[in-house]
C-alpha cells in the first residue's frame, strides 16, 4: 500500500538529497476497520444501561474519587462519530501526501477502547484500578523478558529462549524457596534464595545460548527454540517425577508480600496501581531504569551497542567482541530469571508444567514493537498486559463478548502491534550474526 507522490520538498541542507513523501494507506484502512467494528456494535448489538467507571481501590483510600457513570449507547454513538472523523482526517492527510501522526493513532486507540469498554460494561461497574493493577502485574514477566531481549539483541545475539529462561526462573525459584522455607523456616531467607536461584538459572540458560551462538556459530534462532523445548522438557520431567510426589517440601513456595510504599501509595489512581506492589515489581521499575541509563549513558552500554551494530569496528578499537557478547547475554539471563519468579514466589503459586504459557514470546514481540529500546519495550509489554487483563476483567463483570474471543485478545493485539504498526524501525545491524575472525 505504498505509493509515490509527485510532491517535492526542497531540502533544508544544500547537500542533502531532495525527498518526496512515500505515503501509506495502512493507517486509514486500519482506522476504517475499527470504526466499522464500533458501528457494528452500536447497530447490531445495542445495550441498555449506564456504565460506571470505578476509580478507587477500596473505600478506605485516603482520597476518594467519585465514580463516573456514562450512559452506554449515547457514549458509543459519540465514539463512533469521533472515530469516523478521525478516519476521515487520516484519509485527508494521506491524500494531501502527509503522514498520519502517531498522536492521532494513540487518540484513536484510546477513544475506541473507551467506546468498547463502555459498551461491554453496560449496566455494570468497571473496576478500573483492578484492571490497571492487574495489567501491570501481568506485564511484569513480559517486561523482565523484554529487557533481556533488548540487551541480547543490542549486543548482537537474538534471544528466542526468553520463554525458557522465564520457565527456568519460575521452576528454580519455586524449588529453592520451598526447600529453604521448609528447612530454615525463614520466609525472608527463602524468598532471597528463590530470587538468587532464579537469576542463576536464567543466566545458565543464557550461557548455553551464548556458547552455542558465539563459540560454535550455531544459528541463534535454532538454539533459542531448542533451549525452550529443553527447558520445558526438563522442568516438566522434574515436576512430575520429583516435585509432584514431594510437593510439601519441594513445591510449596512462599509468597512475596505486598509492600505499599508510604505516601506514594495514597496518590489517587497511580498509588494503588503502581505503589502497592511486591518487591519483584519494584525491582522491575529499577531494572527498567538501570538498563535504560546503562545502555545509553555508560561505557558498558556504549561498548555493548557498538558490538551489536558493527562488531568489527568494536574489535578494531580493542573491544573483545565475543567476550562482551557472552557475558552480556548471561547478564541478561539473570533478568529473565528474575522475571520467572513472578509466576511462583511472586504470586504465591506452586510451580506447574509450562506455566509461563508463551510469555517469553510476547516479550520478544515487545522488544521489536518497542524498537529495541528498554522504555518503549516496557510500554509495549504494558499494552500486552492490559490486553490480557481486559479479558479477565470483562469475563468477571459478565460481558457479552464470547470468552473464546477475549482469550485471543492479547495475541491479536500483539500481531496488530508488531505486524501493523512497526514501520521501518531498524534493529541492531549485527543482531543474529556471529562474529567470525579468521
Amino acid at each position: 500500500m505504498t505509493t509515490v507522490t509527485e510532491h517535492h520538498q526542497v531540502s533544508p541542507q544544500p547537500d542533502a538529497l531532495a525527498t518526496t513523501v512515500v505515503t501509506s494507506w495502512k493507517a486509514p484502512i486500519a482506522f476504517a476497520v475499527f470504526t466499522l467494528a464500533a458501528l457494528a456494535l452500536a447497530v447490531f448489538a445495542p445495550r441498555e444501561g449506564d456504565t460506571t467507571y470505578r476509580l478507587n481501590a477500596s473505600d478506605k483510600d485516603a482520597i476518594i474519587i467519585a465514580n463516573i457513570s456514562v450512559p452506554a449507547m449515547p457514549a458509543l454513538w459519540v465514539v463512533v462519530v469521533l472515530l469516523l472523523l478521525a478516519t476521515a482526517f487520516s484519509v485527508w492527510l494521506v491524500t494531501q501526501k502527509r503522514r498520519v501522526p502517531l498522536w492521532l493513532i494513540v487518540v484513536f486507540a484510546i477513544v475506541f477502547l473507551f467506546g468498547f469498554l463502555t459498551w461491554a460494561g453496560a449496566g455494570a461497574m468497571l473496576p478500573m484500578i483492578n484492571l490497571l493493577y492487574g495489567s501491570l502485574s501481568l506485564a511484569v514477566p513480559l517486561i523482565f523478558g523484554a529487557l533481556t531481549g533488548v540487551i541480547g539483541e543490542r549486543v548482537g545475539v537474538i534471544n528466542i529462549g526468553i520463554e525458557g529462561q522465564l520457565l527456568a526462573g519460575a521452576f528454580t525459584s519455586a524449588v529453592t524457596a520451598s526447600v529453604v522455607m521448609s528447612s530454615t523456616g525463614s520466609m525472608g531467607l527463602a524468598l532471597l534464595a528463590g530470587v538468587i536461584g532464579a537469576m542463576i538459572a536464567g543466566a545458565l540458560v543464557g550461557m548455553v545460548l551464548a556458547a552455542f551462538a558465539i563459540k560454535y556459530f550455531v544459528d541463534q534462532v535454532i538454539v533459542g527454540v531448542v533451549l525452550n523445548v529443553l527447558v520445558t522438557g526438563l522442568t516438566s520431567f522434574f515436576f512430575s517425577q520429583v516435585l509432584a510426589p514431594n510437593a510439601a517440601v519441594l513445591n510449596s513456595p512462599p509468597r512475596f508480600p505486598r509492600l505499599p510504599i508510604p505516601f506514594l501509595s495514597e496518590i489517587p489512581i497511580i498509588g494503588p496501581v503502581l505503589f502497592r506492589q511486591t518487591l519483584i515489581v519494584y525491582l522491575m521499575y529499577l531494572a527498567v531504569i538501570v538498563v535504560f541509563i546503562g545502555l545509553f549513558k555508560t561505557r558498558w552500554g556504549l561498548r555493548l551497542r557498538a558490538v551489536g551494530e558493527h562488531p568489527q569496528a568494536a574489535d578494531t578499537v580493542g573491544i573483545n567482541v565475543n567476550r562482551t557478547r557472552f557475558w552480556n547475554v548471561a547478564l541478561a539471563g539473570t533478568i529473565a530469571g528474575l522475571g520467572g519468579t513472578f509466576f511462583t514466589i511472586g504470586s504465591g503459586i506452586a510451580f506447574n508444567k509450562e506455566m509461563t504459557a508463551g510469555a517469553g514470546f510476547i516479550a520478544l514481540a515487545a522488544v521489536i514493537f518497542g524498537g529495541w529500546d528498554p522504555i518503549r519495550a516496557t510500554l509495549a509489554a504494558l499494552l500486552f498486559g492490559f490486553a490480557s487483563n481486559l479479558q479477565n476483567t470483562l469475563s468477571v463483570i459478565g460481558s457479552p463478548v464470547p470468552s473464546e474471543f477475549m482469550l485471543m485478545l492479547p495475541y491479536l493485539v500483539t500481531i496488530i502491534a508488531v505486524a501493523g504498526l512497526v514501520g521501518k524501525v531498524r534493529g541492531p545491524a549485527a543482531a543474529g550474526k556471529p562474529y567470525i575472525k579468521s
Binding site: V4, T19, V21, A314
Partner: protein, 504 residues
C-alpha cells in the same frame, strides 16, 4: 616512530597470503605499499594491527619487538589505522565513535561526552577539519567519515598511521585534500603506510614504494618511476594501460531515458530527473563518486527498482515499468555492481551460472529438464572464449578469483543477442590482467553496434572506455561531456560543479 616488519608470514589454510615480508618504515616518511587486489597488502596490515596473528616473523617499533594479541595492543603501542571499509558505528555520533574503546568517564561508569567533544574539536582545529562532534556518522559524507577515522586514530596518539586503500571512495578533490593531510601528518613526525593500487597517487605522495605481488615483496621503487614501470612490477609482466579503440560507428538512438526519477523507501530522490540517450555503437560512461545514484539508475534500467517515474525507451519500446523477464527478452545485458551478491550464485557451478538467465526454455531447458549435454558444451566453449582460469565447468563459482568470476558474468551476458549492455563497475576487485580483457570485450561489444552504458567510479576506467561521459552527483546529472574531457574538469564535475562551456 620507526616501524619494522621482519619475515612476516601469514597462511590461511594452504594459501600463503604473506610470504616472509620485510618492510621498514622510517619515522616521518610516507611509505607506499603497492600491489594488486589480493596481493596480500591488507592481510599484512591486519597482522600489523593485531587483527590477525602472524604465523612467523616479528614486528618492531623503534627496534623493540612487539607482541600484539589484538588491536588494543597495537593501538596502545602507537599504531593507528584508517580502514578501507570505515570502522565507524553508523548510528553513533562522531564523539561516541572517537571515544569508543578509549572512553573518558565520570566515576568510571558514566560517559564523559564533553571530554570526547573537546578532543574532536581540538584535533579538528589542529588539522583544519570541519567536523561536528555531535553529527551522526551515518549522515556524514564519506570524505568526512574518513576524517573521523583519522581523528579516531590521532585521539589515541598514533605515531604510525596506516591508510588502507583510502581513496577508493573519494572524489579527486577529496583525494588531493587527503594527500595534503598525509603530508601534514608526516611533517609532524608520524610514520605513514599508504596502501593502494592506484599508481598516480603513489607517485604523487610517496617517499618510498614497496611493491607486493602474490604475498611477496617483489621490489622497491622510487616515486620517480613511470606508471608503466610500476604497473609491470605490480603485475609481473608488461601491461598495456591504455585501451585501444577506434572512433565509434554511431548508429540510431537506441536507449532514450527521459526525466527518470527513482525514489528509495524513505522518500529520497536517489535518481532525480535524469535524461540521456545512447546511440547504437556508443559507450556512455557514467562517472561519479560511489553512492550518487548510479547504482539505482542502472537497477532502474533493468527493472530492479520498485519506485520509478519518467520514461525508459529502448528502440522505441517503453520499458519503464516492464518486468525483468520482459527486459531480458528485449535483449538487455546487465553486469551488476556486486557480482557475488547480484550476479552469481556462489554455490552453483560455472555451467549453472552461465544459464541463470535462460532457465525458461530452449536451448538449455526442454520439457522442464536441464539439457546437461548442451549446457556442458556451451559452458566449455565460453570458458575457453573468455579465458576463465578454472579447473573445469563444474567448479563452484565461489572458488573463483574476482577476475575469473567477473568473466563468467560477462560471458553469460554477452552470449545472448544484445540490444543494450549495462555494465556497473565491470572491473571492481579484478586483477590487472583481467581488466585488460574485460575492457577489450566491452569495446568489441560496442563495435558490434550495441549501445553500452558503463558505470564506474574509477576515473581511469571512465576515460579509457567512454565515447561520452555523463557525470552524476547527488542523483542528478551534472553534465554530459565528450570522452576527451580533461580529468580535472571531470573531477570538479564529480564534486557537483557545473563545467564552464561544457554542453549539459
Amino acid at each position: 616512530m620507526k616501524l619494522e616488519l621482519r619475515g612476516i608470514t601469514k597462511r590461511f589454510g594452504s594459501l600463503v597470503a604473506n610470504d616472509h615480508i620485510d618492510l621498514t618504515v622510517e619515522a616521518g616518511e610516507i611509505h607506499c605499499l603497492l600491489g594488486e587486489n589480493g596481493a596480500g597488502k591488507s592481510t599484512l596490515m591486519n597482522v600489523l594491527y593485531g587483527l590477525y596473528q602472524a604465523d612467523e616473523g616479528e614486528i618492531l617499533l623503534d627496534d623493540v619487538v612487539q607482541h600484539f594479541s589484538g588491536p588494543g595492543d597495537a593501538m596502545a603501542a602507537g599504531i593507528g589505522m584508517v580502514h578501507q571499509h570505515f570502522m565507524l558505528i553508523p548510528v553513533f555520533t562522531v564523539a561516541e565513535n572517537v571515544m569508543l574503546g578509549n572512553e573518558a568517564t565520570k566515576g568510571g561508569i558514566f560517559l564523559d561526552l564533553n571530554a570526547a567533544r573537546a578532543k574532536v574539536r581540538e584535533i579538528s582545529r589542529r588539522f583544519g577539519f570541519d567536523v561536528d562532534p555531535d553529527a551522526l556518522v551515518d549522515e556524514l559524507p564519506v570524505g568526512v567519515q574518513q576524517r573521523v577515522e583519522i581523528i579516531k586514530a590521532l585521539s589515541r596518539d598514533a605515531r604510525v598511521l596506516v591508510f588502507d586503500e583510502p581513496t577508493a571512495v573519494l572524489t579527486p578533490q577529496e583525494t588531493d585534500e587527503l594527500m595534503q593531510i598525509m603530508r601534514q601528518l608526516r611533517d609532524a613526525g608520524t610514520s605513514i603506510v599508504f596502501i593502494t593500487h592506484k599508481l598516480r597517487e603513489v607517485r604523487e605522495v610517496a617517499d618510498r614504494i614497496t611493491v607486493i605481488r602474490l604475498g611477496k615483496v617483489v621490489g622497491e621503487a622510487s616515486p620517480t618511476a613511470s606508471n608503466t614501470e610500476l604497473a609491470s612490477l605490480m603485475v609481473g609482466r608488461a601491461v598495456e594501460l591504455t585501451v585501444h579503440k577506434n572512433p565509434p560507428q554511431l548508429g540510431d538512438e537506441a536507449l532514450v531515458v527521459e526525466g527518470l526519477t527513482v525514489v528509495d523507501h524513505i522518500g529520497q530522490l536517489v535518481v532525480n530527473d535524469v535524461s540521456f540517450e545512447v546511440r547504437k555503437g556508443e559507450i556512455l560512461a557514467i562517472a561519479g563518486v560511489q553512492g550518487n545514484g548510479q547504482t539505482e539508475l542502472t537497477e532502474a534500467l533493468v527493472g530492479l527498482q520498485p519506485r520509478v517515474r519518467g520514461s525508459i525507451r529502448l528502440n522505441g519500446e517503453e520499458l519503464t515499468t516492464a518486468s525483468v523477464q520482459r527486459i531480458l527478452d528485449e535483449g538487455v545485458g546487465f553486469v551488476p555492481e556486486d557480482r557475488n551478491e547480484d550476479g552469481l550464485v556462489g554455490a552453483f557451478t560455472i555451467a549453472e551460472n552461465l544459464m541463470l538467465d535462460r532457465s525458461a526454455g530452449a536451448p538449455f531447458v526442454k520439457a522442464g529438464t536441464i539439457q546437461r549435454g548442451t549446457l556442458a558444451e556451451f559452458a566449455r566453449e565460453k570458458v575457453k572464449e573468455f579465458d576463465v582460469r578454472t579447473q573445469g565447468i563444474d567448479e563452484q563459482v565461489r572458488q573463483l578469483s574476482g577476475g575469473n568470476a567477473q568473466k563468467v558474468v560477462l560471458a553469460r551476458e554477452l552470449s545472448r543477442e544484445l540490444s543494450l549492455l549495462v555494465a556497473a563497475q565491470p572491473t571492481r576487485g579484478v586483477d590487472v590482467g583481467s581488466i585488460e580483457f574485460i575492457h577489450k570485450r566491452i569495446v568489441e561489444t560496442r563495435d558490434s553496434g550495441v549501445p553500452v552504458v558503463v558505470v564506474s567510479t574509477e576515473l581511469d576506467e571512465v576515460v579509457a572506455l567512454a565515447d561520452r561521459i555523463m557525470v552524476m552527483y547527488r542523483g542528478r546529472v551534472v553534465g554530459i561531456v565528450p570522452g576527451t574531457t580533461p580529468r580535472d574538469v571531470l573531477g570538479l564535475m564529480m564534486a557537483g560543479e557545473q563545467p564552464e562551456g561544457a554542453a549539459a
